[in-house]
Symmetry: C2
Subunit: 781 residues, 2 copies
């Protein structure tokens, strides 16, 4: 059900060339600041800046996250997380002595707009001060895609009723924390050249040095002016106060604040890196110069490179742009030592950790849009192999047991142990995923295979990919447990994708994916033996593969793989189908997810046929050839009604599976709900950050679902089946080094080969070859 | 000059028995929350709770400090400090869906009153919600003097225009920090018995465990009701939400929230201490029961025990009550391992550290009012001897070199190294006090002697006092530097009380106090040799006193003690009198202190005849027999005009010295300014906490200054000289185990001996003996 609450968001403000590019918050709700703080986050993969306002509010969550800068605070409740870096946004404005604050005085007009195309945030306010004076304020800002260290702000103030004397305090505030946890030691604060403020900090245990800068420039009548100013250094703060700036009625004053952040985790250039950053920062241009570079970068590197155009549904057009905007903004494409957090760089939620969300939901977008970035994301996993080996050893397994949650390279498992309150016992719930949610290792192998299928990147496979698949297959064979009574191998005591079920035996998804992982290892091993022993040799030496090749075959032959029962239902695990079934209407219709836990604790939910998110169904999507459409349909009909979609990973899977089954209406409905996970009216559910996997899922729903793109038996298949309301769907994908433009309508599909070599693919099941720079059109029936 | 700014404080709201007991903030100024947050702090010596409001504001500084629970966060900029413990005050109130927030909607009436007598904070608000509905809200709270672990709140809400549906979120918030520095590891959070919330925390490096509890009770129509509720556990937070509480127009709902904090630093009772605290907390009574015990404790232990009554000036009466209120509230009378921070327990300023403020400004109050507490404060110094010995060794000195700033017992020096911005260089100023402000060792010896003078407590001297005096005298003889050219000992490169002058040679105060310390050691050593060798023996063994006895005499005989020049001026140090003199009018008349540093940096001020606070003048006060009144007067006339009183320690010293010189008008003026340091209209200067030493100074101004109480040659002297506007000054003091009531008017003084033994003292220079339970009156001419 799409919730029908009134929204504070307007998607239709953009006209003409801005149509479907703008998302506007039209009402300022001080209780619900988290919504647009998160979904309007500005990012460039290096850093993400939550869209908190210049002025401060009690319920705000400011947040500046720099990719890969993990730190762990002491204590059992803490794990390594992405620290909230010093805030550079803060600007306190005093208009004729009154602090500009929207909760005070009157808001005469208000618009906070994220401009997706330019990745610029614009806030326009007409405000009546408690003293009765009116002012217009315009706030613009961006996080530069062209210079990844820079955040630029531009504030223009126009008094409307009287002349004004304006005071402004602005600087760098290192008092911010991760909900009270402080990750930084304070370092040097100082002022350079009477205009550049600097604050250094260092993470307490990972010892990453941060250098923050900011500088200010005031413009009046197009001239730079220098107001009276005084510097303040307080604990963890360095600020300038600009005083007595006089502005006449209907005239304006503009403040440009350029801020920068650099860390010792960046690719370094020797001992003088701090001095060099100061020089680089001081040489950066003004707002307009930086903005032009930034805007061009988005145009050339993103919107022109892998556009998706949906004609016939404006909101869907906007939604996919929103998804791509964030997928680019959250992804550390510059550094393979880093990955994507489950909330991107838009909030403290999930602590910046990488989950299976990346491999199953996000990596596919990059494989087809920016394969070089997909490669880096998989290289990240390879770089974390030592942590995965350590985790396996600690659990008495062989091979690579990847952490459920992953942070810095060698850290291994970083899943926190304690969660929300158990409403029955009054104690904190224990989070079991870090111990027993183990399918992640197979998911990584799967993404590796998928990347290889679409790209044919043998260099990647030789360096990293084969080792990822072999090492995880080695883990799985050691993980199997022999059931003497049943004379079979099992995988017991796990959590599957459905995290409502803890300590289950033989979760269908886990067992099948483990088996797939092992089979893929056998296949690749045999192929390398035959075709490429030179690549195999070092892996053979490191991993003793010949030994495991035998075990893979022997053990997997006896691995229990849950099969459809008489009704065609694949049991989610050994006991699921025997559990109580309750009426879920109340929870399915709830405005926010998670309401079930206001009534039951996890132990109680464990005993009911309630599924958090696609579990058997995601198996049927990922391993699509495993079962027939009839089996898929039977399982959909059984499991979907029992699924609360209490994970943002659930709906896009359902959408694609429905599209595969030809259930356009249901697929459409699921898509409608999926795109509203962050963009919909719910005011609280994005507080901790946007739902990264869901955004990848939106892309998959369009390209894999409605676009019908898929790898089938090593070949690319394109079989579009667009929703009734869409007139046209156009998109570009990269495939084995070639670039394809695809335009699907209700009637036909046109595919253009933008590359310099012929491509062979299946279109609506017919194998075709498209010559370089040519296009072909097929009718869809 | 007394500043004449409009004040947000009204001192005259109290009528009849509440007259001069109430201080009321009559205007809510969201920019200046720090003022009453600090000066309305509630405390019981165990903990201090800043008077932040239940609801949160952007500029607030919440603060709960538990005495002695020091912790050090990592980093060069950090020193051991009193951590800001989890906030238990927070209560968020939603009235018909609107959050109660004074910056929103309209304030129809507002009063925030500190009731000094009952140590209760009462806030009365009539508020119009942005939706037009009006409500009356009454907030009461106290920190119990009877049960030092408890904080009690009582909130009554009355809808005035319509019935209301009320939601309330309340609990324990451990996300608070010391301006961004987090001292706690998060511990267990849980709910007991469906009503008691618990949050545990532990300091990160000192490993002090904290247990916080809170529980709620709702009353409607005098009956306990149980609203629908749900528990929330978030990171570092545990809260209950109470929902859908319906209240009819003009009816009321009352919430009582009782909170408790216990730490492993408390005198412990074995391993089960946490369980015992839970039991103790759950057995505590309701607001009214706890309040009755609390009120009685203040009445019996404070107001009846050492009252000061000033007739003829209501504000002065209020001011001394305010001073005593805070002196009691900030002082850890329960534990000699703890001392008083320079801001008491009312803010983060000075990090909870003990300075000479205690010995010179605060201890005298306790010596004469609660000698057993004064003893504990001096025992604290004795317990820190190891740290002082360590500091001496590190600096290549002998004996005990006490730290300029002191925290936990064995930590030694904890003065931070970096201060505010240098406006000339743009860098942080270095704070030299921790390295070279050394007079603290003599100040501790002085307070020890003073305590002994007034109490005759030989037990204290035998156990602790002699060792404090000997060990500091040993330090001083090692500190002296031989000047070969001048054939004298000097003390070079110090900071004296005037901290504007760094790296000076032969600061008069330091040299004279060091000499006094050595002479006192010689005197006591010789007396013990003669009268009490048994006490001396262990000290002799530990300190090799006979050896130092010789050095004390030899070296001090050649110690340079700056003397008055031809004009009678004692040079503050070797170079002061040669420095430039500038016009200070602008800075003397400024609304806030510290304005000098908006124009000059410390290096520049170092080269001018500008004094921060009493330096030569405090020497003339403390060692009052050193020079004649003529010399005192000449130095007053020279130094006071050059003194910015940029320390709250300055004015009370000037007041007493002026009173001693018979300058009633000037003394009165200084007193008027001294009592306004916290109670005056300045809105920012108490932000970081009340000025503890200043409050002790207010007491000294009255009792030592206008009351004329002093020890002279081992005898108690009482020579009142009350201001013209006062009709009567009455107070009680303890002296050598006796209790004396003193009533001074313009004409006479009446002294009553409340004790069971005769006392001998000087009244207006005549030696008198007053028999037990009798009184005597002397006329004053």
């Amino acid at each position: 059900m799409v919730k029908q609450s009134a929204s504070i968001l307007n998607y239709e403000i953009g006209k003409k060339e801005e149509k479907n590019w703008l998302i506007t918050e039209t009402t300022f709700l001080p209780e619900y600041l988290g919504k647009t703080e998160a979904i309007f986050t500005l990012g460039n993969g290096y850093m993400g800046q939550r869209a908190a306002s210049e002025e401060k509010y009690p319920n705000e969550k400011r947040g500046l996250f720099v990719s890969g800068t993990f730190n762990k605070f002491p204590g059992d409740q803490e794990v390594s997380e992405l620290p909230n870096a010093a805030d550079m946004l803060e600007v306190d404005i005093f208009l004729n002595g009154k602090r500009f604050q929207l909760t005070d005085g009157k808001i005469l007009s208000y618009e906070k707009t994220l401009h997706l195309k330019n990745a610029e945030l614009i806030r326009l306010v007409e405000w009546e001060s408690p003293d009765g004076n009116r002012y217009q304020l315009e706030f613009r800002r961006f996080v530069s895609l062209a210079n990844k260290h820079l955040l630029a702000q531009r504030i223009t103030i126009t008094p409307l009723t009287n002349s004004a004397v304006i005071n402004i305090r602005s600087g760098i505030n290192g008092q911010v924390t991760n909900s009270g946890t402080q990750h930084f030691k304070e370092g040097e604060k100082r002022l350079y050249h009477q205009h550049t403020l600097k604050m250094e900090q260092e993470t307490t245990t990972s010892h990453i040095e941060f250098v923050h800068y900011c500088r200010h420039q005031f413009l009046q009548h197009n001239e730079v002016i220098q107001p009276e100013n005084i510097i303040f250094m307080e604990r963890r703060r360095i600020f300038m106060e600009y005083k007595h700036i006089e502005v006449l009625k209907n005239e304006s004053i503009t403040l440009e604040k350029i801020s920068g952040v650099y860390t010792s985790r960046d690719i370094e250039n020797g001992e003088a890196w701090k001095e060099e950053t100061l020089e680089a920062f001081e040489q950066a241009g003004d707002y307009q110069t930086l903005f032009t570079e930034h805007k061009n970068a988005w145009e050339v590197e993103v919107w022109e490179k892998f556009p998706i155009v949906i004609e016939g549904n404006d909101f869907h057009q906007l939604a996919i742009r929103f998804a791509i905007y964030h997928l680019i903004g959250m992804t550390p494409a510059h550094d393979n030592r880093m990955s994507i957090g489950a909330k991107g760089l838009s909030g403290e939620g999930y602590k910046g950790h990488a989950f299976w969300d990346n491999e199953i939901f996000i990596v596919p977008f990059f494989i087809l849009s920016q394969p070089e970035v997909a490669r880096k994301l998989l290289e990240y996993r390879w770089l974390t192999l030592d942590g995965a080996i350590k985790k396996a050893k600690e659990n008495n397994y062989d091979g690579a047991m990847f952490p459920w949650e992953s942070a810095w390279l060698d850290e291994g498992e970083v899943t926190p142990v304690y969660g929300a309150a158990d409403i029955v016992t009054g104690e904190s719930t224990i989070i079991w995923s870090g111990f027993i949610e183990q399918h992640i290792s197979a998911d990584i192998a799967y993404a590796t295979w998928q990347y290889y299928q679409y790209t044919g990147d043998d260099d990647f496979m030789n360096r990293y990919g084969y080792e990822l698949i072999f090492s995880t297959a080695i883990f799985w064979q050691s993980r199997l447990e022999w059931n003497e009574q049943k004379q079979r191998y099992e995988i017991n005591d796990v959590v599957g994708p459905d995290e409502y079920k803890e300590h289950v035996n033989n979760n269908a998804f886990t067992n099948h994916m483990a088996n797939w992982n092992i089979q893929k290892a056998i296949e690749y091993y045999d192929r390398l033996v035959k075709n490429n022993p030179a690549v195999l040799q070092p892996l053979e030496e490191k991993w003793n593969l010949a030994h495991y090749r035998k075990l893979w075959e022997e053990k997997s032959a006896k691995l229990y793989l849950p099969q459809p029962n008489e009704q065609g239902i694949i049991p989610q695990d050994d006991t699921y189908l025997q559990k109580e079934i309750i009426d879920l209407t109340e929870y399915k219709n709830a405005e926010e997810v998670g309401t079930l836990f206001l009534k039951y604790n996890l132990e109680q939910v464990n005993d009911m046929q309630i599924t958090k998110q696609a579990d058997v169904l995601i198996l049927l999507y990922l391993l699509e050839d495993l079962y027939s459409n009839d089996i898929k349909r039977a399982n959909w009909d059984y499991y979907e009604p029992k699924t609360l979609h209490d994970s943002s990973l659930s709906r896009s899977t359902h959408c694609i599976l429905a599209a595969d089954l030809g259930e356009k209406e249901i697929a459409y409905q699921m898509f409608e709900e999926a795109i509203r996970i962050d963009l919909g009216p719910a005011l609280k559910s994005s507080d901790a950050g946007i739902h990264a996997a869901s955004l990848g899922g939106i892309w998959q729903s369009i390209v894999f679902g409605f676009g019908g793109v898929r790898m089938v038996d090593g070949s690319l298949r394109i079989r579009p089946n667009i929703p009734e309301s869409w007139e046209k769907l156009s998109f570009k994908i990269f495939w084995k080094g070639s670039e394809l433009s695809i335009v699907a309508t209700q009637k036909d599909v046109k595919i253009r080969n933008e590359s310099n070599k012929a491509v062979s693919l299946f279109v609506t099941e017919n194998e075709v070859v498209i010559e370089p720079k040519l296009e072909t059109t097929f009718s869809l029936v």
